[in-house]
């Protein structure tokens, strides 16, 4: 067939017609984004599974990634950019912001487009109609409930502009970075790059373990015009390795000779997009035997990393106390699976070299750590690396490790041209880190009254091919293995074991959710044995202020677990009564109610993790907040503003904001370990206080003076104050901790989050399916800086807990897309009651501590507790897919 230029396609988008000289099979999404620059339409999978690309085609919602542009010709295409200008678009935006229905915002354009289709035919839909209309869009952040509320409520926002808010601490202000997420103007990793950027395509191993030989590269380049370079291990100018820990840079940018997991990168093609994507790059693979945890721990097993005997990366231990006699004992063995973060935004970004500086724009949770990695692989000082975080379309721990950054930086550095890349969904899934699968055995006892006597916990955590956050997980798990309870004797060991699996890294909870499944199941068994109600058993044993933990730490303040349990008690009784009534009717559906508690140390384990925040006020009244904490959707930008504003005494609206740019903002540390509200919040509070003190000193005013800043004029108690110089104030906070010794004794965390959750559900005893009716979550957050955002975190954590409990199982080679790897859809998340307990933490800003991870930990154990309540089945293989529920039922 002869190449002749295709006739242009007439595409009408948001009322404007364009003649596009595109191949007719081009995906409509690509035409919108790449040709028309309408990047508000997002790409999460290119396969119909996520719905992020939803647009309207003649008023009907469709996935733009599956529409050939030829079929859109002649139709009216509406994208989020077009919707934003309409009445419904504005009402939806206002309602989404009011309800906190956009977190990271990557799913938001798809959600509002689907909602627009619905509202055009039914302005006041019911919940079932919302679910039917929006069920094709996945959200990984919100747990969907607030999205449903926002759509149900949208009609109330028609023609009503939102009222401005002061944003005091405790106020439910809409997220400050929200509007850009609603009109499609937010820039994620794939949404911006220099026009002349080259394209980078990583070449990855399809084998879990293999030796390989690359093709002859000069010959390959000669045969593939348009490919400008093939980068391999030899081309990495600095250290060909990265990793979270300063002394473990074990993951190569490009593997040398041997690959250690399916997805390991061996080379990268750089050139024009078409050329690199179309080139056949024939690598010769010699597959080698691959080790799983059992094989890796067997005597004489080959070693993945020669210096790690037994393939054990790290062992974490907490041993304390002496055993009291137990009247009842219980034991359990649990096996969990790999869990994929499944952020809807795949990894993406670009790098460019500007003189002797390299700039990297990418989606990340940890700009300062990215800077260290990029400097390391380039062999240049850190101050010559500029990390500019894009908006982050979901992280959950997965974007704490670098992904695109090192290769893009190497390419841009060597070629001296801007270079970009966007991972496809399968590439994102097979290359990125996962939640550790854990093989846990645990045994515990209580006395005749039900008081816990001991817990013994042993966990092998499959840390995969490279270290990543494995040591963090192995360190954190033993500390949390006894849960938030008084347990006189604890012996807990967790090992991070290397295998030829994908690297396991950080994922909301760092190994604690897996441990909580085992430990809470033991409590249920012991409560039954002791003849106690399961909730009252937990009340009896709950950690209280003044108690000493298994690491020897006396927890004096902000131990709100008892308050959480007491707040749950009426719900517990009502839901139990309802379940009993349902069960009295008989039938295949068995109803049950479960409860579980959790605690979570905020910040790094026994390690310094400081944050610095800066405020500047210029003589012409420009107030700028230099905030290095990346908002990955959880809302840190808004919360830190609220705290800084409260400390300073000015409303949030007067702040300008510079976020996360390593050339402009001080180091706030990473967005992980639920630390930003607590650690960076305290730093922001200190910065606000310092600036306030400076202003008051200059105005010679007292502590209770009222400040205002309007039209560039700063007033103190109504009198204008002219500044002759720019005021700069920094706040820094590093939570006080003491490293753990070889028995795990020390002060691992300065404060802990506590929670208790109830799950109410029905088990279909013939099919093994689970229908969740309700979750009630009580969380001690210290102080609720912004209750709407907090609820959003709790809902989202619960949704991920539901996924962990019931459906998520990443199997290399088999569930590498969002079709086969299931995350909860809209209909899988039941109504959630959130109860916020405020037991203030004196170290925290205004008493606050973190909630990001605590939200998830208790959910899976509460669900399993309810399944056991309903049927007697003890779930020991995670996730509880229908066939496993039935198997557990048969075991009894």
């Amino acid at each position: 067939m002869n190449a002749m230029p295709p006739p242009p396609i007439a595409l009408t988008v948001n009322g404007q017609t364009h003649a596009l000289p595109l191949p007719p099979a081009t995906r409509l999404s690509a035409a919108l984004r790449d040709t028309l620059g309408l990047t508000g339409t997002k790409i999460g999978c290119d396969a119909g599974d996520c719905g992020a690309c939803t647009v309207l085609l003649d008023g009907a919602q469709v996935c733009a990634c599956m529409v050939p542009v030829a079929q859109a010709a002649g139709a009216q295409v509406t994208t989020v950019e077009g919707l934003a200008g309409t009445r419904w678009g504005q009402a939806l935006a206002a309602s989404f912001l009011h309800h906190g229905a956009a977190q990271c915002g990557i799913c938001t354009p798809g959600m509002v487009m689907a909602a627009a289709e619905l509202l055009a035919r039914d302005a006041t839909p019911d919940e079932a109609a919302v679910e039917a209309a929006l069920g094709g869009v996945l959200c990984r952040c919100t747990g969907y409930r607030k999205i449903t509320d926002a759509v149900l409520d949208a009609h109330r926002f028609l023609d009503t502009p939102p009222a401005p808010e002061s944003g005091a601490v405790g106020a439910r202000i809409p997220r400050l970075d929200g509007p850009a997420k609603l009109d499609g103007s937010e820039r994620y990793g794939a949404d911006a790059a220099p026009a002349d950027a080259l394209w980078l395509r990583p070449i990855r191993s399809p084998h879990a373990h293999a030796r390989f030989t690359l093709p002859d590269i000069p010959q390959f380049l000669a045969a593939n015009p348009g490919v400008e370079a093939v980068l391999t291990a030899r081309d990495v100018p600095g250290r060909n390795g990265f990793g979270i820990y300063p002394h473990i840079k074990d993951q190569p940018v490009f593997a040398e000779h041997t690959v250690l997991y399916r997805g390991d990168c061996v080379a990268a093609l750089v050139g024009t997009r078409d050329a690199v994507l179309r080139a056949e790059f024939p690598v010769a693979w010699v597959p080698l035997p691959a080790l799983d945890v059992t094989a890796a721990r067997a005597d004489g097993a080959p070693l993945l990393h020669a210096h790690l005997p037994g393939n054990i990366l790290t062992t974490g231990r907490v041993v304390s106390g002496t055993a009291a006699p137990a009247a009842h004992t219980a034991r359990i063995a649990v096996q969990t699976s790999f869990v994929e973060h499944a952020y809807i935004e795949p990894e993406a970004g670009y790098a460019q070299r500007i003189g002797d500086v390299v700039e990297v724009f990418a989606s990340t949770q940890a700009p300062y750590m990215d800077r260290e990695e990029v400097a390391g692989v380039l062999g240049i000082p850190e101050d010559r690396v500029r990390i500019i975080p894009s908006a982050c379309g979901g992280g959950f721990g997965g974007k704490l490790d670098v992904a695109v950054q090192p290769m893009l930086a190497v390419a841009a550095w060597l070629l001296n041209k801007p270079v970009r890349t966007i991972y496809a969904r399968p590439e994102s899934m097979l290359s990125s880190t996962k939640r550790h699968p854990a093989s846990i055995t645990a045994e515990a006892g209580c006395d005749a009254q039900g008081r816990l006597t001991h817990i013994h916990f042993d966990g092998d955590y499959d840390t995969g091919a490279y270290a990543s956050w494995g040591p963090t997980v192995a360190g954190r798990v033993p500390v949390h293995a006894s849960g938030p309870y008084r347990v006189p004797q604890v012996a807990a060991v967790a090992r991070a074991v290397h295998t030829h699996n994908p690297p396991s890294g950080a994922f909301r909870g760092f190994g604690v959710p897996q441990a909580a499944i085992a430990q809470e199941a033991l409590w249920d068994q012991l409560a039954d044995a002791a003849g106690l109600d399961r909730l009252e058993f937990r009340v009896l044993n709950a950690l209280r202020a003044g108690d000493t933990t298994a690491t020897g730490q006396r927890v004096e303040h902000s131990v709100g677990l008892l308050a959480c349990l007491e707040a749950l008690r009426p719900h517990w009784q009502a839901l139990r009564a309802r379940a009993a009534a349902e069960n009295a009717r008989g039938g295949a559906l068995r109803h049950g109610v479960g409860v579980a508690c959790m605690w979570y140390g905020i910040g790094n384990t026994g390690m310094s993790n400081p944050s610095t925040m800066r405020l500047e006020l210029t003589p012409d009244g420009a107030l700028t907040f230099f905030n290095g904490a990346v908002d990955i959707g959880q809302g840190s930008t808004t919360v830190l503003h609220q705290i800084a504003a409260e400390a300073l005494g000015l409303p949030v609206v007067v702040f300008a904001h510079v976020n996360g740019d390593t050339f402009l903002t001080p180091d706030a540390g990473k967005t992980s370990a639920s630390r930003q509200t607590f650690v960076s919040g305290r730093a922001a509070f200190e910065a606000g206080r310092a600036l306030r003190a400076d202003i008051l000193r200059r105005a010679n005013a007292g502590d209770d003076a009222a400040l205002s800043l309007e039209a560039g004029v700063l007033r103190v108690n109504g009198a204008s104050l002219h500044l002759h110089e720019t005021l700069r104030a920094e706040g820094r906070f590093d939570p006080p901790t003491v490293p753990l010794d070889e028995n795990g004794q020390g002060i691992p965390y300065a404060t802990y989050g506590f929670a208790a959750q109830i799950a109410a559900l029905a088990v279909d005893t013939r099919l093994g399916t689970i229908k969740l009716y309700r979750i009630v979550a009580a969380h001690d957050v210290g102080r609720a800086i912004n209750p709407t955002l907090l609820e959003g975190q709790i809902h989202g954590g619960i949704a991920q807990g539901i996924g962990l409990a019931l459906m998520e199982e990443y199997i290399p080679g088999r569930t590498e897309n969002l079709h086969d790897y299931l995350i909860p859809s809209m209909g899988d998340v039941p109504p959630i009651d959130t109860i916020l307990i405020e037991d203030p933490e004196p170290l925290g800003p205004c008493g606050a501590k973190g909630v990001g991870e605590p939200a998830l930990v208790a959910t899976a154990p509460a669900i399993y507790s309810a399944i056991r309540d309903a049927t007697g089945a003890v779930i020991t293989r995670v996730p509880a897919l229908p066939h496993r529920v039935l198997e557990a039922l048969r075991r009894g």
């Binding site: 000289p21 191949p23 599974d49 069920g135 078409d274 994507l277 019931l806």
Partner: protein, 291 residues
Amino acid sequence: MAQYLPVECRANSPYARKMDAYFRPMSLPEALDLMARHRPQPLAGGTDLYPWITGAEVWGPRPALNWLDMSGIAALRGVSATRIGALATWTEVAEAALPPAFRALQQAARQVGGRQVQNRGTVLGNLCNASPAADGVPPLLLLDAEVELASAAGTRRIALSQFILHNRRTARTPEEIAVALHIPAQPDVESRFEKLGARKQLVISIAMAAGLARWDGKRIAQARVAIGACSPVARRLHGLEAALLGATRDEAAQIIARLPLPELSPIADVRGSAAYRAAAARDVVARAVLA
């Protein structure tokens, strides 16, 4: 005139080595002529083809593909109680006024993907794609649907049960287009679709069944049952249908629970074990027939 558009895999590039062709004929005769000459891949809603492309490009470039976009052919449209055209989408089927025996098909239509997929994906595409988990197959087996295949050489009709041969294999020759489904007169009985999956929306079936029962007083006077995802091709269970004749509700439940079902050969995959499928199959059948 058919548009004849040579294109590359992704976009214009002087380095193209692999070329796609894209035909968008406006009439069936033109389309059949192109099918005979180029044997392109028919394209309807693209909800199987585009995800296939994404999967095929994971480890490198995909093979070239010639497309025949059927969307311009008016003769392929339409939904009625006797005919479902090749371009009929799930949404069109769900929203059409159809007799009660079509209820299972309409219920299935609202459980295929989300609205985005239902608005684009076609029922015939679902059959031609021939996944063992295709939700359209059991409800249409229930209706004794026939597939009308057309090529430049002529047309033929073939029972749906003969059309799908195996996992991803049909009786369609590379020159043929499936132009429509034909449905004979149906009993005036409401059918029902039961789908079993591990999440609420956007889920591929672990097992699914379509069933209908006409009752004569307390006894079954006519029964039809079809089940999918428990064998390489969804199957009508004629043996079970015969065994159910004359049964009361309780007897029927016993028969469904016990009767050997040689038609089924469930496999284990990421969604469920073989033993689980074999047991669950009987349950979804019972719910489809007796609910």
